[in-house]
């Protein structure tokens, strides 16, 4: 094995180690999350599924519960005021369910 190939093996090994570290950390965090009881209990109390990502736009706080067209209720076809609205859209599946009625 030449020195170059040895260097390559080291570099690729380090890259693999990097990915392995990341994956191990991810698995550890997931396990810690699952072991964390308070979260599940909280959801059991409030029975609302959404994340508290927005305290500025009401429809962004519980997108899964928001009414169809919530984002555009006040200004149809308007741009979202809140940048988070660019990421969290109105719930389409739920929206579909609402439309059929």
């Amino acid at each position: 094995m030449t020195g170059r190939l040895r260097a390559l093996a080291i570099v690729l090994g380090l890259a693999a180690l990097l990915i392995a570290t990341v994956l191990a950390d991810a698995a550890r965090r997931r396990a810690a999350r699952d072991a964390e009881a308070s979260h599940r209990l909280l959801v059991r109390v409030i029975r609302l599924p959404d994340l508290a990502l927005s305290s500025s736009s009401r429809w962004l706080r519980h997108p899964s519960q928001a009414e169809p067209g919530a984002a555009l209720a006040d200004l149809p076809a308007g741009l979202d005021v809140d940048p988070a609205g660019a990421l969290i859209g109105p719930p389409r599946a739920v929206l579909e369910a609402g439309r059929s009625r």
Partner: protein, 388 residues
């Protein structure tokens, strides 16, 4: 095998000879992957977090729409639903938003009868409200208002201020859901949200079996025109779809990333400089077959893109989960005044990491091979003379 190793050795040597260019290419690739990966890791984590606890949700949530807006639903309708087969329990819920002028933020007020001491473990400090005006609030909200367990929270209402003793705070692992929560007894929640007795925000319906959800949904909408029924099955998919529906932020991040990647690709496609073309001509002339030249080239791209992509993924991961995605997380929270820290479990698993690597490496290698193939299939002396 020996031949492949020798070609690999040559490829590494070639990368080393163009160290500056290789490093720039690798770093550029890592940066693009990190940018793209960060958005991907974050949205995936949010999705996973949402889906993780969906099973705790009611099978059906019944809302009523009036003029296209959610309106209050009569509690008496709950009794009607209880008569349906497969319905195990119906709970009229009182919850909603309250705009806290002092914070310029909406808080979520949730009324609940649940006060089982076993559930007190949901709180970081204290207990759930058991009587009267007691409230348990999110830690972020408490911090903003300067409140601790035992203090009274002043809530402006109709020109008056209602004082609610804070008996508990939510926090720690659940901050991402509880940051803006005010949990109260139903009667107190009614008062704060101005929901009259006999009415509810929505009805939470639990079924004996989820399979019946669709049938029951139809029965409900027959009985209550204007009802909107959210099935848990759909909730499970909500985030998946919401992120697909827009993803404006993702697209915004993607544009520079894509531009950078295209730039890299272009560099690879057209960047077979005279020196590289000449080198291929030399190799062909001294007896390398086209396949040998291409194999060396593939190894070159493979080593470069594998390393670059691995570093990029690690950078993205570190940025999102170790540093808390400064910037990106802020953009996601928008103008919110209550800003829970990013505390999400990564959804990244080996399969996803592998497909992410593949998504980077495969096009990169392909893009690098094309011009080499063009040069290598020329007559060697023409490649050497730089003639096309």
């Amino acid at each position: 095998m020996r031949r492949q190793l020798a070609l690999l050795d040559y490829a590494v040597g070639a990368l080393g000879r163009r160290a500056g260019k290789s490093a720039a290419l690798g770093a550029g690739l890592a940066f693009v992957v990190a940018l793209f990966g960060a958005a991907l890791l974050l949205t995936d984590a949010i999705r996973a977090e949402h889906e993780r606890l969906v099973e705790e949700m009611p099978d059906l949530t019944v809302q009523r729409l009036v003029a296209g807006r959610p309106a209050l639903i009569a509690e008496s309708f709950a009794d009607e639903l209880r008569g349906l087969p497969a319905v195990r329990a119906v709970e009229p819920r009182v919850w909603g938003y309250y705009f806290f002028a002092a914070l310029e933020a909406n808080v979520t007020i949730v009324g609940t009868e649940r006060a089982d001491p076993a559930l007190d473990a949901a709180l970081a400090h204290g207990r759930l409200p058991r009587e009267g005006a007691e409230v348990a609030i999110g830690e972020d909200l408490a911090d903003h208002l300067g409140l601790r367990v035992g203090d009274a929270m002043g809530i402006p209402l109709d020109g008056d201020i209602v004082f609610s003793p804070v008996v508990g705070t939510f926090g720690g692992g659940s901050a991402i859901r509880s940051a803006d929560l005010v949990v109260a007894r139903p009667a107190h929640a009614r008062r704060l949200l101005d929901v009259e007795e006999g009415w509810a925000t929505d009805l939470a319906v639990d079924l004996t079996t989820e399979d019946e959800a669709r049938v029951i949904t139809r029965r409900i909408t027959e009985r209550l025109p204007g009802a909107r029924v959210l099935e848990r099955r759909l909730l499970r998919r909500t985030y998946e779809l919401t992120f697909d529906a827009r993803g404006g932020l993702l697209a915004f991040l993607l544009v520079p990333a894509l531009a950078a990647f295209l730039l890299l690709a272009w560099e690879r496609l057209s960047g077979l400089g005279d020196a590289e073309r000449r080198e291929i001509g030399i190799l062909k002339a001294i007896g390398w077959a086209t396949a040998d030249v291409l194999a060396a080239r593939v190894y070159e791209s493979l080593v470069l893109s594998l390393t670059g992509a691995a570093v990029g993924i690690a950078l993205a991961y570190a940025y999102v989960f170790w540093l808390g995605a400064p910037g990106l997380w802020g953009a996601l929270l928008g103008w919110s005044n209550l800003r829970p820290a990013l505390d999400l479990a990564p959804a990244l698993d080996p399969l996803q990491a592998l497909s992410l690597l593949g998504a980077v490496v495969v096009p990169f290698v392909a893009v690098g091979v094309v011009p080499a193939w063009r040069a290598a299939t020329l007559d060697p002396d023409r490649a050497m003379r730089g003639a096309e």
